[in-house]
Symmetry: D2
Subunit: 398 residues, 4 copies
């Protein structure tokens, strides 16, 4: 007998749970890609997309995953040989740096480890020292999906400004967009990349690059941008196929439209507030569980935690055991630990992650927490008592 | 800001949550109803349906809801003027009795109130006193969806046998089939009615009547059975359309097939065990909450509680308030109280019900319980502490 | 190699092709059946349903197929022993008469054969002779799905009036509603039955009875109407569940709502005109094919042909052969001949039917005709030349 | 009144009609992307994908459209400055050449116009003259979607061999894969690109590059391949995410799996034969229509025509008029003319295209032809008589 036979719940940090309205919108015959409803819908969707990113400037859509958007963003504003500064707070900044290297760029990494945010002062120092302005861009993850840390884009902008450095500020918001508050224009981010499969609640397959006038100008200085990555025709299309550098991703566009309707129907401020409250719900439970000493929240300071994902350590092997138990016995799939490997735990088996992003309500979160507590009891991970009541209390307070 | 924006969860006592596989199976073009795949599938499905009811005898499918099945069952075995004995433990036995009256039958009700099961000894007395065998059938609800009481069919069979009374034993398993253990043949039930929208996890629209040889013989004694209700062609069809007395319910059949695949894939014993464990999970929380005095479980004795639904009192107006709060703020729709009206509470506003039937896993149940606790806190219904931990403990133990 | 691997087309006279919008509307989680969106939607849908039937009076919805609606309609207005007059023009009037017999009514059939319409004068004679007004109702099929004949309701009303006979005029519009023009109030039809799976383009499972004040009064004279069939609570509900005599057919209601949106979006007059033009398209081809002598249209007079279905004879065995060929080789399922049996052809194997009802455009019809011509060539049924061009010509003229 | 209200049919040369099984497979919750069913399914799918391309060598999947695959293929085997020879027979070879230019390659185009195939002798001459082997690759479209010409890959391989030239032979099979016979290994094609949205019947969003050992070796000689385009980890993955250079395209993979099941269930030889027969069906009609002088098939020689798409001229403005008529009046969307512009007809308004690729049966094709004839009559384009009968004759012969 298993208690898993019901509607399975995927609480990994992306892909997130797809709303029924999104899946329904995609369950349609192939539309005409040359004219008519799809063409009109796409044009009308761009402003709605930019409102999610809080920018009034440019948006380019790519049929790609987030890694594609990383490459696209870099390709449009940097020339081979250019230096990029990469303050890293987990796994994904390294990934982006590697992508940069693949394009012939020269990444300079400042590693802040797995449990601390970017220290903007440190970044400012490095930039100030770069008097020749060899660094052309600063690349960072707003939220690192592996460590669940959330960095402060405005602080980085201030660092650049204080240092009087002209480098572009480029943010990876793949894990955070439409979950954690992000204000592209107000915070002075020049280029931002995102994907559709997390806060945008659409099956993986679309990625986005947003950029401002500084990004636009940087594009002019690049000697060669490959046709697929070139954001010019995509952001300022003459023909419909320019949007996508070829055939339109018909069904994904329909799904994305439905997702944007849900987000704007709720209101982006309300969406952020919901994620913030549900993140506090998760934390309330985790903090109580942690009192017994076996569990450790990867990020201690609440103000540095993502509202979209929470990374946790539970001791060698226990993360894997817990995840297996919840999937087999309760219908809950948790995210595995990634990028937390150590000599003692080369597979990050002592970690797991709770995704709490996108199409997410109190029922889903409280259910996940209930199952995790049941799982810890079942696989014998000690935990502090009263966690679920504490979590419910956060929901009650709203 | 609301925490309800996510996948809504409907925890009412039917319709239950539909598995994706069922909805998918129904999202298909119209099939041929005269020959081919649908026809073959239907023939092959009848044995699988009977295995759910634990009978080797007859099954008739109706395009109807449960009320239709009530009428169908009565129509096939009783003549106008016949007396039927109806031991009642809540709302639905009265409903069936009313249906009987509508057919010209004469129901004799023994009312056991809203919080007690059928007393088989009392039934036996009445039957023993019916020396002329005017009572032709005993009608009862296995589980009453309003009160959440579960009656004992085997005890009723024993009562009939002890009284040496030839009346048919007719069970309403609408709320219980594929949730609470039910052994039609072993327990000596002659006629049983059910619907597709609860334990069978299919959108409302199909109903079933199962009957044994005694039911079959009773049919022969009925002078006039209307064509639509006549179970003869439906249970022993010469042509495909006989199954349904006309056009086949194509999409429902496809959905039901998918549901039966899920149930038999899990195994009916495992399905019952899952419902039993998840019911105990619900009870564990409710019993702790009840300690504060505001909440009262309608059925005190665990052995008399349904594994599919739990009815609760929380004080005048509070049931309605709680239900509204959970729907508006947390994505959880609870069942309303029905049939519990009193002079002080004519709308049963002090009651609510938790449906825990069908496609149901630990995540769904623990989430519902977490939301209920949050809701009670929010709308200020006092509750005992530690309920969620207790519920998680039941899941942990499996 | 087969040319059938593509989107199959079902051209049987019901179930008709389901629009994507209908199937999509049904691919949703179970909704709350006690309050909220579904309840409001249902109330708002009733007037839209009545507009399809062109009546301002009463509508009752049944979870049932058309046979259920037959029984429901009879149950509400007739008492056992009542005589009903049944002018028959094919199979289905006999079916309804049989249903009447099952309820203890006494049908008097006037058989007009398989290729002629009801002769209203003949009906008037019979009614005039019934000076004691023993005949309580006249039952007829607007369109007989087997023969594809279309009868004239207004002529029957005139016959009743001329004869000064108070019998109810009861129409079966199962095959015709939302295909062939039908004006319930203007034509003086008292009771009308229909199903959802033909012109209403929804998977089988709902049936409808419409009735006017005369029907309403007749209900008062019936001594016993079973609860499930009683149209009173269904047409004038105090509670939501009254609409359906129990649990609501949630997913069907959502599908029906989508279908009604399509129909009213197009406009019922335009829907009828489309069916009329597409029927003429089919006839244009069939009439040319018939010139070679092997094919015979069952109804010769165009003014008597249904706009929803066409029955054809092609010689012993050839109907079955042709149907098999088109399904195996071209992705087209044709309707089989029913009710056309003779001594030489006990299985109606010399007949087939083309359904052309519901969600139907010129592409679907011209494709079906193209395949039929290919099939006749392949299985060697002689046919007149130029049929497809003639059919295309009708579409061209619009 | 319009005859378009039914199931719309999209007969454009991609995206093609999506099978219900594909759309259904994609209507599912987000799966786990780290382990479990999706991971296993993907590994098992690669051989099935290669069987479609008739290669036993390497396959790389990209989240991209066909243009992305063009860029990916070039990126892996060529260095900036490399010369590529591009024999062009329509629009798409120019597109690929432009993509090459975007990567810093130097395309040398041989333009064979819009109505003739590649002349392999001419290619051989050019290659023979390139004694320094500066040409590193020959790029060609197997089928040009604009002109509907089909080129002969084996003849090009022979040309390369005769010239003793080591350039890679690179084929664009975006329009032809799984429609027109293509034998990658047997015909000596080194690199091949394709998309999912035509013969593979899946919504746009996936693209494929297949390559053999010569392609594999060429990769080794490339100094820098961007991470996203690098086919090494994609074709020989260490981790699941390597397949996609990041997040997996979950729903597209499920759709593609369903499409491959359909194709292999039918058998690739049968799939090709079906396309060939249905292409002949289309041609039979077009050739008859052309007799009146107004219509002209773009490719006269049957042996040079694609089996997936047919381009037609009907005189200035008439293509646009016809397309509008069929969409508005009959539910058929035809492909517009592209790349056929002339001084007199700068918008290619005199052309249209019939897509006949993918999930396609005789009913769909004959319906499209019927509608086209109706449309030509309605918008007054003269046409030869007997076209539809001729087309049906091809289907009859099978």
């Amino acid at each position: 007998m298993s208690l898993a036979h019901g509607r399975p719940y995927l609480a990994i940090p992306g892909p997130s749970v797809m709303p029924d309205a999104v899946l329904q919108a995609m369950h349609v015959p192939a539309p005409n890609i040359y004219e008519g409803a799809l063409v009109e819908m796409t044009h009308a969707m761009i402003p709605d997309l930019k409102r999610i990113a809080r920018t009034e400037h440019y948006a380019a859509i790519y049929i790609a995953n987030g890694h594609g958007a990383w490459e696209a963003a870099l390709s449009n504003v940097l020339n081979p040989g250019d230096k990029v500064l990469v303050p890293a707070t987990g796994r994904f900044a390294f990934g982006w740096a590697d992508m940069a290297e693949g394009l012939g760029l020269v990444p300079q990494i400042i590693d802040f480890g797995l449990r601390a945010p970017i220290d903007a002062a440190r970044v400012e120092e490095v930039l100030a020292a770069d008097t020749g302005h060899e660094i052309k861009a600063v690349l960072f993850s707003h939220v690192d999906t592996a460590t669940s840390i959330r960095n402060d884009p405005a602080a980085l902008r201030a660092a650049l400004d204080s240092a009087g450095h002209p480098a572009l500020l480029m943010a990876d918001c793949i894990a955070s967009l439409a979950c954690d508050r992000f204000e592209m224009d107000a915070w002075g981010v020049d280029v931002m990349v995102a994907g559709c499969q997390k806060g945008l609640m659409t099956p993986p397959g679309l990625a986005f690059v947003f950029f401002n006038e500084r990004g636009h100008e940087a594009r002019d200085r690049v000697t060669r941008v490959s046709r697929y990555w070139d954001w010019r025709p995509r952001s300022e299309p003459d023909f419909f196929y320019n949007f996508f550098g070829g055939t339109a991703p018909t069904h994904h566009l329909l799904g994305l439209r439905a997702a944007l309707d849900l987000l704007h129907g709720e209101g982006i401020e309300a969406v952020w507030a919901r994620h913030e409250t549900l993140a506090r719900t998760v934390w309330a439970a985790c903090e109580v569980w942690s009192e017994a000493g076996a569990m450790r929240m990867n990020i201690e300071d609440r103000s540095l935690r993502s509202h979209a994902v929470t990374a946790l350590g539970v001791g060698f092997g226990n993360g894997a055991k817990l995840r297996e138990w919840t999937a087999q016995n309760a219908g809950l799939t948790l995210g595995l630990g990634i990028g937390m490997a150590s000599e003692e735990d080369p597979e990050s088996s002592g970690f797991f992650r709770i995704g709490h992003m996108g199409h997410l309500n109190a029922h889903m979160v409280l259910g996940a927490l209930g199952v995790i507590e049941a799982g810890m009891q079942a696989v014998q991970i000690p935990y502090g008592k009263g966690a679920l009541a504490a979590a419910a209390g956060v929901v009650a307070a709203g």
